[in-house]
């Protein structure tokens, strides 16, 4: 009996928390599927007049979608610089004597410690 109550308690807590997390996101989604008139015209829990027009605008008007293109360019550049930096960090490790450690483990199957540490 007690155990079942416990599960219900946890489920309730998680349910409420997830609801709290998802409601604002739902609302955003809800808005995105409404027409401008509907949004400003009155309050409704669901889009009465479901439309994808907003998405069409976003994906066709350059003044909107260039933002995404710029983001992508930025991310690609960031990633390439990270890779670049990644190589550098390897060298960093080597200086501290970590280099040996990293490769030694591989060579001698010395992952016991790693497992222990985990």
């Amino acid at each position: 009996m007690r155990k079942r109550f416990g599960i219900n308690g946890s489920t309730l807590v998680m349910g409420l928390y997830l609801l709290f997390l998802l409601l604002p996101i739902y609302w955003l989604l809800n808005m995105s599927l409404k027409t401008n008139q509907e949004i400003l015209g009155g309050f409704s829990l669901f889009p009465q007049d479901l439309t994808l027009a907003n998405y069409a605008v976003i994906l066709t008007d350059p003044s909107w979608y260039m933002g995404y293109v710029n983001s992508m360019i930025y991310v690609v550049e960031l990633l390439s610089s990270l890779v670049f930096e990644g190589f550098g960090s390897c060298g960093d490790l080597a200086c501290l004597g970590g280099f040996d450690a990293v490769f030694e483990r591989d060579a001698s199957d010395d992952f016991g410690e790693v497992i222990k540490a985990a």
Binding site: D100, F103, E104, D106, A107, S108, D109, D110, F111, G112, I115, K116
Partner: protein, 362 residues
């Protein structure tokens, strides 16, 4: 071919893991490192493997100084207490992995893997993943990997400690057989004296970061150089008794004496420590000349064929291992007997001054 450690020591932080030690291991031998947990077995192995660099001393392999040489440039295989295999590879690929790294041909690899798997009785499991195997099989897989590597130095760090008692017994009997022909240097760390005896070869006893003795296993067992070695190499632990030599007599307990005959007559007067192994205490069938001790029985443990008796002799705690199932009353005074031929005498500092005479006969 040999591996020589010369004045090697290891200090990490404020703790000395290994005090200055020398050790020489010959090719084709099984070498046991015997000692309790954190006595330095693993530290010593890591030095041998090159995973750690010693603070002092040098390590020679085949006469060549390898101190500071990287692990991957040495020919070393290692097996751990945990069953360590690549979880995403099949048993076959696990065993083959070191050979693939060496760039062997597929045919060579296949032959070697099949052979190792046969030896380790893994034949039927080659296509499985390690985690689908029992603990014993997983460790066999790790051993097989060490085997195919054709390493000059194979380090086994308590490889059987995590296995069931019976499996341990079986693998323990197999390991020396399997590695006999390989012709490498084997180093095997264990906490159990019986394991050392079963593996044979040579044994180095370790205690608090020092190698107390190194030699052929039966010799170290029968002629321990000091009380510490004797204690490490005895399970149940060796029993001790305080003695005083005075003239022609050895005094102990409450005014009991025994004649200082044979080798003992040459000892200078003074306090000593006598040691004897639990299996040499007798309850009945004792020979002539046996010494009688009046002890108090605290606990008995029956193994089915033998009985362990835990005794109190004037505050010294002793264990006896006697034949047969003995129904004894606890708390009573129990006379036990000991043949003087089984007594080792150590000086107060612990060094052996006289080995038991029975040992010389065997």
């Amino acid at each position: 071919m040999s591996l020589i450690l010369q004045g090697v020591s290891k200090v990490i932080g404020a703790r000395t893991h290994i005090y200055k030690s020398d050790l020489e291991l010959q090719n084709g031998t099984m070498n046991v490192l015997l000692g309790p947990t954190s006595s330095g077995k693993t530290s010593l192995m890591r030095l041998m493997a090159g995973l750690d660099v010693p603070n002092t001393g040098r390590i020679f392999w085949d006469g060549k100084d390898v101190t500071g040489m990287r692990v991957q440039d040495r020919r070393i295989a290692m097996v751990y207490q945990q069953f360590i295999n690549y979880p995403s590879m099949t048993v076959y690929d696990n065993i083959a992995s070191p050979m693939r790294l060496m760039g062997k041909t597929a045919a060579e690899i296949d032959a070697a893997v099949k052979k190792a798997a046969d030896l380790m009785k893994l034949g039927p499991f080659l296509t499985r993943k390690p985690l689908e195997l029992s603990g014993g099989q997983q460790q066999r897989c790790a051993l097989a990997r060490a085997l195919v590597k054709d390493a000059g130095l194979v380090l086994l760090d308590e490889p059987l400690a995590n296995l069931d008692y019976k499996l341990r017994e079986e693998l323990r009997a197999e390991i020396p057989k399997i590695f006999e022909e390989a012709g490498s240097i084997f180093v095997y760390a264990t906490t159990e004296p019986e394991e050392a005896l079963l593996l044979g070869g040579n044994t180095a006893t370790l205690w608090q970061g020092r190698i107390t003795q190194f030699g052929p296993t039966p010799e170290v067992y029968r002629f321990p150089v000091d009380a510490t070695t004797a204690r490490v190499f005895s399970d149940p632990p060796m029993n001790f008794l305080k003695l005083v030599k005075s003239g022609d007599d050895l005094l102990f307990g409450n005014g009991q004496t025994m004649p200082a005959a044979g080798d003992w007559s040459k000892l200078p007067d003074g306090p000593y420590q006598a040691g004897f192994r639990p299996n040499h205490l007798e309850l009945s069938s004792y020979g002539a000349g046996a010494i009688e001790f009046e002890t108090k029985l605290t606990v008995t443990e029956i193994t089915g064929s033998e009985t362990y008796v835990h005794l109190d002799y004037h505050g010294e705690r002793w264990v006896g291992l006697v034949h047969g199932v003995q129904k004894l009353v606890l708390g009573r005074v129990l006379p036990v007997y000991l043949d003087p031929a089984h007594i080792y005498i150590f000086e107060k500092g612990g060094a052996l001054v006289s080995a038991a005479s029975y040992a010389k006969a065997t």
